[in-house]
Structure formats: C-alpha cells, structure tokens
Amino acid sequence: MGSWGFIGLAYGVAAVALVGYLIGLRARLKESGAILTALEGDGGRKKP
C-alpha cells in the first residue's frame, strides 16, 4: 500500500466512525423522543 493508500484508510476509518456515531445517536434520539412522548401522553390520561 502506498502513502495515499494509508492516508485514505486513516481518513476513511475516521469518517465511518464519526458518521456512524452520528447516525446511531440520531436513531437513539428518535427512539427516546417517541418513548418520552408516549409516557407523557399516558400521564395525562385518567384511569378508567
């Protein structure tokens, strides 16, 4: 592997880690937001 191959590998690994983390974080935010909305919605309802 030449110099630019190593450079590409290093920057590629970092890009995958940073973008992958962001995608995962957004998915977790969406999931937690939905759970919280459901819980807050339930709290407002009266028990039959």
């Binding site: 190593f6 290093a10 880690a17 919280l36």
Partner: protein, 229 residues
C-alpha cells in the same frame, strides 16, 4: 423536542471547519521533509487525541460536580462526554496504528504512549459498560463518577509518557515547553483540524446530553407512575 439552537450552530461551524481542515491537511499543506505524504495522517491523529483529552477532562469536571451537588444534569454531561471521548480515542488508536504501519512497519507495538492510550480507551469503555449494566441508575452515576475521576489521571501520564520514556513514539510537537516545534505551514492545518474536531465534539456532546436528559425524564416518569401503582 428537536436539536437546540446551539446544536445547529455547532453542527454548521463544525462542518465548515472540518471541510477547510481537510482541504488544508490533504491538499494545501506541503509533504513532510522526512515522512513525505503519509505524515498527513497527523492532521487527524493529533487533533483526535487532543479532543479525547478535552472530552475526558469535561467528564472529570462533570463527575466531580455530580458527586458534590448530585445534579443529574452534571451526570448527563459526564456520560455524554465520555462516550464521545471513546469515539475520538478509538479514532486515535486506529489512525495511529495505520500511521505506525506506514512508518515503523508494524500495526502495533507496546510503546509507552500507545499502551497508555489503549489503557485510556479501556478505562472509558469500562466506564460506559459500568453505566450500562448497573441496575440502579443513581448507583451507576455514583460509581461511574468515581471511575471517571480515577481514570482522568491517565491523561497527564499519557501526555508525559513520551518525555519520561524515550520509546518508538515521537515526542509531543504541539503541547510542549517552549511552544510548538513544527513549521507554520504544518501548524496552521493542524490547528484548523483541531478546531473542527472540537466543534464536532461540542455538537455531539450537546446532542448526546439531550438524549441522556430524555432518558432521565422517562425514568423519572416511570418511577412516579410505579409509586402511584
């Protein structure tokens, strides 16, 4: 509850700064006189570890605040910053390994700096596992804070390792007594990339803290409901 105004500003600033940093590091900066083109990995490797240091320092401060005030907001910042710090330490280890293979001929060696960085990574992965697997949330926060405070002391040890033990890793060229030892043509791209990664860290932490606050709120609601029966 969407991203805050500060998160949006940080994301735009980080995107711009990283784009400029990539251009400066990969195109505009001259190749190193000794290592040639492969030295361009430095523009990613060095800012990554410095960003990780900032992340774990923030975790340390937030953990001390949590133990002192028992404020769940401080705990949310501590765990968020630690998680982002682990990402940047992982990038440091990976890029360092690739750079090592191209210059030293090996992917890994038990050099003092490399070993202490691996220990730093392990400490904070352990911290996140402790947080994830503890059954009682307040105990998880308390034990996590203690581990984060103890683990923080690996940072000065890691930074000074290249001065105390002259092994394979080169000495610090940015944060050192007497100022940076590298030429301005290489220093400017390095600092722009550092600013870009710090802004990115800021954006990730703001968003990750928002997630942790949502989880804390959901847990509080569940507990309140459980008490009511």
């Amino acid at each position: 509850m969407g991203p805050s105004r500060i998160a949006r500003i940080l994301s735009v600033m980080a995107g711009l700064c990283v784009a400029v940093g990539l251009y400066l590091g990969l195109v505009a900066a001259p190749p190193d006189a000794t290592q040639g083109e492969v030295q361009r990995i430095m523009y990613l490797h060095v800012p990554s570890i410095l960003t990780a240091y900032v992340a774990f320092t923030a975790t340390f401060i937030a953990s001390v605040l949590y133990l002192w005030k028992r404020d769940p907001r401080a705990d949310a910042v501590a765990v968020s910053s630690a998680e982002v710090g682990v990402v940047f330490t992982g990038i440091t280890l990976a890029t360092g390994s690739i750079w090592g293979k191209s210059t030293w001929g090996v992917w890994w060696t038990w050099d003092a700096r490399l070993t202490l960085t691996a220990i730093l990574f392990t400490i904070y992965v352990g911290y996140l596992m402790l947080r994830a697997f503890a059954e009682e949330p307040q105990a998880a926060a308390r034990y996590g804070a203690v581990l984060a405070i103890l683990g923080f002391f690996d940072i000065p040890l890691n930074h000074l390792a290249v001065q105390w033990w002259r092994t394979l890793h080169q000495p610090s060229s940015l944060i050192r007594p007497g100022g940076p030892s590298i030429d301005a043509a290489l220093l400017v791209p390095l600092l722009v990339n550092l600013a870009g990664l710090l802004l990115l860290y800021g954006y990730y932490v703001v968003e990750r803290t928002r997630l942790e606050r949502m989880r804390q709120r959901a847990l509080a609601l569940r507990l309140t409901r459980g008490r009511r029966g």
